[in-house]
Symmetry: C2
């Protein structure tokens, strides 16, 4: 871990991710659809999910992947970012969180109208599956199908969308810690977890590594949400790039409202340790990027 | 054609489709998500897209498909119906068409609220891709990946979602016939076309048959929309199961507003002939179901 420069690694990877998104998110989609899709995806965000895909891929495949493998990993990285982006577009809409600021910019429905945001979100979700199934590609069919299946399960009714439904139904309710964990495991955790496993599938990793990476992703996913809740009460809107204090204002249950600030901080720490332990059981030797990413999730300020 | 009973064939197939949807659209999704998804999909609709998948599949594979082939066809049939259902849920929302009646029932947002409808639509789209990628299945990976790719392209920015964006941008505009055709080729045609081709892919059909079926699907897709526009001005709300006269009220361009009622009827007839001709060039011998479906599209009353 010591000596490894996560910042440099991320900068290099993100350059490739941004180039790929720039190429793959169409600017020739009809009417305002293309501009709205690109507005929602390009130029913004931490890109944590793509970084997790690529870090996991790198841990599994080493330094000399084949070209089809690398292409699969980059497509997976971009596909999961598109799912994340679509969920934010729909989440921000007036009938959901009614948020007007995202990544320091007006939200998509503010800029393109509600119907435009609805359609852009829909088309971003579809595009994710399009990216994973290129025609005339050397990516093996089983990798393509495997990635589609993982993404659909992570994003769907038993994953992200299910978590959002629980979230929606729980406003104003006092959830138990168990209920809150279940909600976040679906709402945020499922997609982070899926990112890590998609990297392994792109690399055609063995079962032991894949299972360990799943455990790592599960712990990291919940830790991310705990830190999110902490930042919601401790960070400024200007640093966060979205409206701070929003959850408390909406009377939403959070780890902080349930465990207190200090309790939430301890919980994040515990989950980070759990993520590191999972890596130790992976049978993989080159996990420093994943280790550093887990530390970053814990220490991030926005 | 003579002697073939489309009604009996459809009834038999639809029984299987309804059973499959009943099984695959989850009732245990969290909070109201499961009920809203099932409300949107079960018990309603003409199921034209599933019937097209199954008719195309049957034309390609004959009477003795293998079990994995049949499973692939049924999964494709249900997946495309889920995409259709999601698009209706989102289309009906207040920020889009603001419709309160669909298939004779209150629309999803009327019943489950706007946020519930937004999420249900999102999760239905995801579920479509989940259905196409079963784990522990004997469906070949290349069929799974091929079906996902087709569905994503038909539903996405260059297909259905793109058509909806054009539609949205064109309200109050006088489109040319060419622009109108392009809009409908995307908005409605793409998914109908995709249905037919998915049937061929599930059957692992040859290139000649697949290409001919694509042409059939293209012509049928546009014919369907022309008839839809005709019914919007000639049918009662009670027969239609949705609000009639809606397009004219919204000042939307239609084939009828552009060609007149008689001109639109001639156009539908011309497209039906085109669809039949495509079948004649398919090299397939058993196309009577597809022929009958094309006739039905032309003669339907709702």
């Amino acid at each position: 871990m010591s000596g490894f420069d996560l910042q440099a690694w991320s900068t290099q990877q993100l350059l490739l991710v941004e180039q790929a998104l720039e190429q793959w998110v169409p600017n020739d989609a009809p009417a305002d659809l293309g501009p709205a899709m690109r507005y929602a995806v390009l130029d913004g965000g931490k890109r944590l999910r793509p970084l997790l895909v690529l870090a996991s891929f790198e841990a599994c495949v080493g330094k000399t992947p084949t070209a089809p493998m690398s292409e699969a990993a980059m497509r997976a990285a971009c596909a999961i970012e598109l799912i994340h982006a679509y969920s934010l577009v729909h989440d921000d809409m007036p009938c959901m969180d009614n948020d007007v600021l995202r990544r320091g910019k007006p939200t998509v429905h503010v800029k393109f109208g509600e119907a435009g945001a609805l359609l852009a979100g829909d088309a971003l979700q579809t595009l994710a599956f399009e990216l994973l199934t290129p025609s005339n590609s050397e990516i093996p069919s089983q990798v393509q199908a495997g990635l589609c299946g993982l993404l659909a399960r992570g994003a769907g009714h038993a994953g992200m969308a299910g978590g959002q439904a629980i979230d929606l139904a729980s406003v104003g309710d006092q959830l138990t810690l168990e209920q809150l964990q279940h909600m976040h495991r679906c709402k945020t955790g499922a997609l982070l977890e899926t990112s890590v496993v998609m990297g392994a599938v792109a690399a055609q990793a063995n079962a032991q590594a894949t299972q360990a990476l799943l455990s790592y992703g599960q712990a990291l996913g919940v830790a991310f949400q705990v830190v999110d809740d902490i930042l919601d009460v401790t960070a400024d809107t200007s640093v966060l790039g979205k409206t701070a204090g929003k959850d408390a204002d909406n009377d939403k249950p959070t780890y902080v409202s349930l465990l207190g600030l200090q309790g939430a901080q301890q919980e994040a720490q515990r989950l980070a340790v759990q993520a590191q332990q999972a890596l130790a059981h992976s049978g993989l030797t080159d996990t420093q990027v994943l280790q550093s990413l887990a530390n970053w999730v814990l220490q991030r300020k926005h």
